[in-house]
């Protein structure tokens, strides 16, 4: 096939530095796409799990029963994790202290920790996407500049400088920029999209934590009233 001017041949014939740059960009692109896919799956599942958990939570089920049904803490994610952390802390503190305020404080702290872990889990590798999005155009540009430098160096040794002698070098050099942009554009788009999705989910978790906290507070308030009575 007459494809020695194709991207494949240009990459093969490029100088080592440009090839290295291209390799970095390719790896970065592949990794960013892995992150994109992985994050997309994670967030979609988290959203579904959150919907399912909220349905169950607000279905009027007994909280102890719900706590028992949920799996152990390492495997829970999202709002379920927050609920488990809070409820476990509530159950542990309830026999030890009579002050509802200290129980609620402990529950809130525990839920904040769980929320913070959920945040860490959801935004995992998104920073990598941001890095790829911002850095790969520069890396590609570096490759292009290096390639054009090489082309002009070889041009100075050529007998006659026609466009046809410069063109392959320029094309080869420009491939690096193209690859940088190819890696950066999806990374930018998906970084924005995934970070907004995750912050939306985290907001939902926060809302749930507040609601759960208010339920526990109501519960403790009722028991304090009954104790006082």
């Amino acid at each position: 096939m007459n494809d020695s001017m194709s991207i494949f041949h240009l990459i093969i014939n490029a100088s080592t530095v440009v090839q290295l740059v291209m390799l970095i960009l390719t790896v970065g692109s592949i990794l960013s796409w892995i992150v994109i896919f992985q994050r997309s799956f994670v967030i979609r599942r988290a959203r579904r799990a959150h919907q399912a958990f909220e349905e169950r939570f607000w279905s009027g089920i007994d909280l102890n029963e719900l706590y028992r049904e949920t799996p152990s803490e390492q495997e829970t994610v999202g709002a379920e994790h927050v609920f488990r952390a809070g409820f476990r802390e509530f159950n542990r503190l309830l026999p030890k202290t009579r002050s509802p305020q200290s129980i609620l404080d402990g529950v809130q702290r525990s839920m904040r920790v769980a929320w913070s872990r959920e945040e860490e889990r959801l935004t995992l590798h998104l920073v990598f996407l941001a890095t790829v999005a911002s850095a790969s155009p520069y890396i590609g540009l570096f490759g292009t500049v290096w390639g054009i430098m090489g082309s002009f160096q070889s041009l100075s040794m050529a007998q006659q400088a026609t466009l046809s002698t410069v063109a392959p070098w320029i094309a080869e050099a420009l491939i690096a920029t193209a690859m940088g942009l190819f890696a950066a554009i999806p990374a930018v788009i998906f970084y924005n999209r995934l970070s907004s999705e995750s912050s939306k989910l985290l907001g939902k978790y926060e809302d749930f934590a507040e609601e759960f906290h208010s339920i526990l507070h109501r519960n403790l308030q009722g028991r304090a009233d009954s104790d006082a009575a």
């Binding site: 007459n2 001017m5 892995i34 896919f37 992985q38 994670v42």
Partner: protein
């Protein structure tokens, strides 16, 4: 909720990402196959016109120098001949101009002469007529004088007659006396008178004759003078015309002769130059058969050098398509203009691979201005206006 769903692994995303990139690469490879050929590989282009025989470069250079010298000499000669021709032309022109001026002057002169002759003739005629008139007058005066004399004589005669009559009358008496004598005398007298009258008539006639003669003489002289003037004028005119004609002919003859001489001189010069060149070439030929063989080789070598230059230029510009067959050969027919510009390139023998053929054509077009052609000898240039180039990929990676 199922536990296995809680963890999202990296295997599937990695597969998806790599698959995506592979897809992109495949699409780019499929969508770009018709684009340009790029291969700075050291390929070999062979031109079919070449003989691989090698000869010394010195001989070629000597030949070139000789040819250059000959060309320069011929050029100089041509320039000299041109110069000479121009000079001759100028000279002829100048001569013609001169002749024209001369002819003009002569014509004017002739006119002057004619005028002068006419004036002279008129003057002459007038003078002659005057002279004739004077002569006639003189003659008339003479005649008058004669007449007067005659008159006087006649008067005297009449007197004498009267006296004689007187005498006769006187002698009447005497006549009676001497009647016989008287009668005889009378008779004599009558005879004499008759004679006298006859003589007088004769004189009268003679006078008339003289007058007529004078008139005739005058007319004749006038006629003569006129004729002479006319003849003189005609003669002079004739003379002037003949002279002008002769002068013109002479000058034309002169110019023609000069032009002829000039032409002959130039021809002579050209012939001598040609002879010289011939003798030189003969001398060169005599220099040795090996030399002539070397010359032939040098011509070929000049061709070779040009072809080599073309070949290297085309080779540099040629980018062999990557997937082309190693054994593919394409022959490209190239037509060049006088200054080495490409007039046309066509595939005369295809390799069967159109991309390969196109790459060869493009190589020729890229290498286009074969300005080396101008440095070649003129005779060789004509040969290399059209040649074939054989493209064969050599050591392509």
């Amino acid at each position: 909720m199922a536990k296995h769903e809680r963890r999202v692994g990296y295997g599937l995303p990695a597969i998806l990402a790599i698959g995506l990139h592979a897809l992109v690469v495949v699409i780019s490879v499929i969508s770009l196959p018709s684009s340009e050929v790029e291969s700075p590989s050291s390929s070999i282009v062979q031109a079919t016109l070449i003989s691989t025989e090698t000869a010394t470069d010195q001989a070629q250079r000597a030949q070139e120098a000789r040819e250059r010298a000959a060309a320069r000499q011929a050029e100089e000669e041509a320039r000299a001949a041109e110069e000479a021709a121009r000079q001759a032309e100028e000279q002829a022109e100048r001569q013609a101009e001169q002749q024209r001026a001369q002819a003009e002057a002569e014509r004017q002169e002739a006119q002057h002469e004619r005028e002068a002759a006419r004036l002279q003739a008129e003057e002459e005629a007038r003078r002659r007529a005057e002279a004739a008139e004077q002569q006639a007058q003189r003659r008339e005066e003479e005649a008058e004088r004669q007449r007067q004399e005659e008159e006087a004589r006649r008067q005297a005669e009449a007197e004498r007659q009267r006296q004689e009559e007187e005498a006769r009358r006187q002698a009447e008496a005497e006549r009676q006396r001497q009647e016989e004598e008287a009668r005889r005398q009378a008779e004599a007298e009558r005879q004499r008178q008759e004679e006298e009258a006859r003589r007088q008539a004769e004189a009268e006639r003679q006078e008339e004759e003289a007058r007529r003669q004078a008139e005739a003489e005058r007319q004749r002289q006038e006629e003569e003078a006129r004729r002479q003037a006319e003849a003189e004028r005609q003669r002079q005119e004739e003379e002037a015309r003949r002279q002008a004609e002769a002068e013109r002919q002479r000058q034309e003859e002169e110019a023609r002769r000069q032009a002829e001489a000039e032409r002959q001189r130039q021809e002579e010069l050209a012939r001598r130059a040609a002879e010289e060149a011939a003798s030189r070439s003969l001398a060169q030929a005599i220099e040795g058969e090996s030399e002539s063989v070397a010359n032939a080789r040098q011509a070929e070598e000049a061709a070779n050098s040009f072809i080599n230059l073309v070949r290297s230029a085309v080779e540099q510009a040629w980018m062999i398509p990557a997937g082309s067959n190693q054994g593919a050969v394409v022959t490209v027919s190239v037509q060049l203009g006088p200054s080495g510009e490409l007039l046309g390139a066509s595939v005369s023998q295809s390799s069967g691979d159109s991309a390969f053929d196109q790459s060869a054509l493009q190589a020729v077009r890229r290498a286009e201005p074969f300005s080396e052609l101008r440095r070649m000898p003129a005779t060789a240039q004509r040969e290399f206006r059209q040649f074939n180039l054989r493209f064969q990929p050599g050591d392509v990676r």
